[in-house]
């Protein structure tokens, strides 16, 4: 019996889909059998991020409505034999599926896969409720900006209300140079405010744009800092104890300041 993990955030555009694709690819690379569900019905994107948009025949709604079999709707990844995508329907909306139908679907998929990752849509309405319904665990993605942190806090409250306890935080798109200047909240600030456990920190990285352009998850790119961050996140999810990666080398100046005791 596998585990279902929902990736959610409240606010749109903070990196849910990218995170889902990268953790999915990371888990598959580690040898696990993984299925990704795009729960963003009407605005599907996980297919393009994975580079699988040309292979879609059936979708989630087809399966739920009994129009297609699950095994016919699942698309096998190009790179990994053990990675599959269940795409969202593009011409329907969030009300095409109910939370109970999602629970049934996810439970079925957990029989077959080690990990079922559910990419949640933005918002707190039915799409979010559907995405969360069948999940055993939740990962909350937030960027170090007030709007994102505020929405993440709201989502954490809603997850609690749905009995999805102890979600993990993924801080995305942090910019070390801005953190250093005091112009961006750092990891400690975010944890202090949101008061949940940190799973990982992903630095802002142009390689993500390039990898999305190509439809190849950055986690497979050995040169990318964000890719490295996602590899670490994947290993932590698997229970390994991996230290948080250093976002930037300490400068002589920084060390000096720390030595003297000024706050940095």
């Amino acid at each position: 019996m596998g585990e279902a993990i929902v990736i959610t955030s409240g606010k749109g555009g903070v990196g849910k889909t990218t995170t889902t694709a990268n953790i999915g690819a990371g888990l598959a690379q580690a040898g696990h059998k993984v299925a990704l569900i795009d729960a963003d019905i009407g605005l599907r994107n996980l297919d393009v991020v994975m580079g699988l948009e040309n292979r879609i025949v059936y979708d989630l709604v087809d399966v739920v409505e009994g129009f297609a079999k699950l095994k016919h709707a699942l698309i096998k990844d190009k790179r990994f034999e053990n990675l599959y995508l269940l795409p969202a329907a593009q011409t329907r909306d969030k009300t095409a599926v109910s939370p109970q139908q999602m629970i049934d679907l996810v439970d079925r998929m957990k029989q077959e896969f080690d990990y079922v990752l559910i990419d949640s849509p933005a918002g707190i309405e039915q799409g979010f409720k559907n995405a969360v319904a069948g999940a055993d665990r939740a990962l909350v993605v937030a960027t170090p900006e007030v709007a994102s942190v505020r929405d993440a806090d709201r989502i954490i409250g809603l997850l609690e209300a749905q009995e999805k306890h102890n979600p993990f935080l993924i801080i995305n798109r942090i910019r070390p140079s801005m953190v250093k200047k005091g112009d961006m909240m750092d990891i400690d600030d975010m944890i202090e405010i949101l008061a949940i456990e940190l799973l990982g920190v992903v630095p802002d990285d142009e390689a993500i744009v390039v990898s999305t352009n190509r439809g190849e998850p950055a986690v497979l790119n050995g040169q990318s800092r964000a890719g490295e961050a996602y590899r670490n996140i994947t290993r932590r999810l698997l229970g390994e104890n991996i230290p948080m990666m250093k976002l930037e080398e300490d400068t002589l100046f920084g060390k000096l300041r720390k030595m003297i005791g000024f706050k940095g």
């Binding site: 505020r150 806090d153 250093k180 600030d189 100046f253 000024f262």
Partner: protein, 88 residues
């Protein structure tokens, strides 16, 4: 030059501090799920209770969230006009 100075000594006006302060306050309201209307109701209830004991200037009466250091508090500022004498 100022930038260098600020970086050496750490700045209290760093924009992330502003962000954190604003977030803390707004999250108190979000988390308590107190709508502005609910806060107004709370204020009126308080006014009613306290008015039984003293005469309050209800124009100057204010209830709001405030933050200092590490705590968030619900602060009520209640200007007193007159304390009622208890009849024995």
């Amino acid at each position: 030059m100022f930038d260098l100075f600020a970086r050496v000594f750490g700045r209290d006006d760093a924009s992330k501090e502003v962000a954190k302060d604003r977030l803390r306050l707004v999250l108190v309201q979000d988390r308590s799920s107190l709508s502005p209307q609910a806060l107004e109701d709370l204020k009126n209830d308080l006014l009613k209770v306290i008015s039984q004991y003293m005469e309050i200037d209800d124009q100057g009466f204010k209830v709001e969230f405030s933050r200092n250091e590490n705590t968030t508090a619900l602060v009520a500022n209640i200007p007193i006009r007159n304390v009622k004498r208890k009849s024995l």
